[in-house]
Amino acid sequence: MTTSQEKTLTVALMDPPYESEASTTALRIIDAALRKGISVNVFAYEGAVNLTMKGQAAHPNPVKGTSAEEQDHPTTARFISGLFGMSGEAAKLDWAVCGLCADERGAGDWIEGPRRGSPGDFYKFTQESVNTLIIGAR
């Protein structure tokens, strides 16, 4: 095993945003890995292609009468943008979005950072990682 393998983790995500707590857990894992100097490869497929959509907007809470600013709801795109802000020489974040899955959903307008990919990228990711965690939907 090479040194880069030892310092790289791959995570496959399938859940769309705001559906499952697994998305939050996955983002916590990626955050912790980057902070430890471990590079992370992400393969986002099926509904997870929507995690990085640029147009995500926080909303107000009409029941409580609070504005979107007061609610300060985090969006997954904002979370992930923050993770890309941590990506650097010490630990790199590579986020491949399944192109066909994105096309099906019209979900190609991403924040800066993710790139279009395919299951072939996922295979390469697994080959260059010490481990792969596949977080499937229900």
């Binding site: 983790l9 857990t25 916590r28 894992i29 912790a32 010490v130 481990n131 596949i134």
Partner: protein
């Protein structure tokens, strides 16, 4: 012998297949493997002391099985780290990452 990391995100009250996952952990240990069960999200619910599901306690009592419960998930559910089944330890996502990058570890998410 191999190292297995089984991440359980489901609770046995909503998903009966969580019990099958516990059984996999038990069987892997019985076959001579080192097994860590990392409970996260609602997976931490049966780790609460007195919970009506004895399987997590049984796993935790098995010498070759380590049972950890994610502290973030515990706090979200108002479960104190001092109120866990015997043998279950509170853990962190940092610990989970450390386990994931141990060479040769086979990780399964459920």
């Amino acid at each position: 012998m191999a190292n297995y990391l089984l991440v359980e995100s489901r609770d046995p009250y909503q998903f009966t297949d969580a019990e099958a996952f516990y059984q996999i952990a038990a069987d892997l240990a019985k076959a001579g493997n080192a097994v860590t069960v990392y409970l996260v999200q609602n997976g931490v619910l049966p780790a609460r002391r007195g919970a009506k599901n004895g399987q997590v306690a049984t796993l935790a009592a098995t010498p070759s099985i380590t049972v950890l419960a994610d502290d973030f998930s515990l706090r979200e559910r108002a479960i104190s780290a001092n109120n866990l089944e015997s043998g279950v330890s509170a853990s962190t996502v940092d610990d989970l990452v450390d386990l994931l990058v141990q060479p040769g570890t086979k990780a399964i998410w459920h």
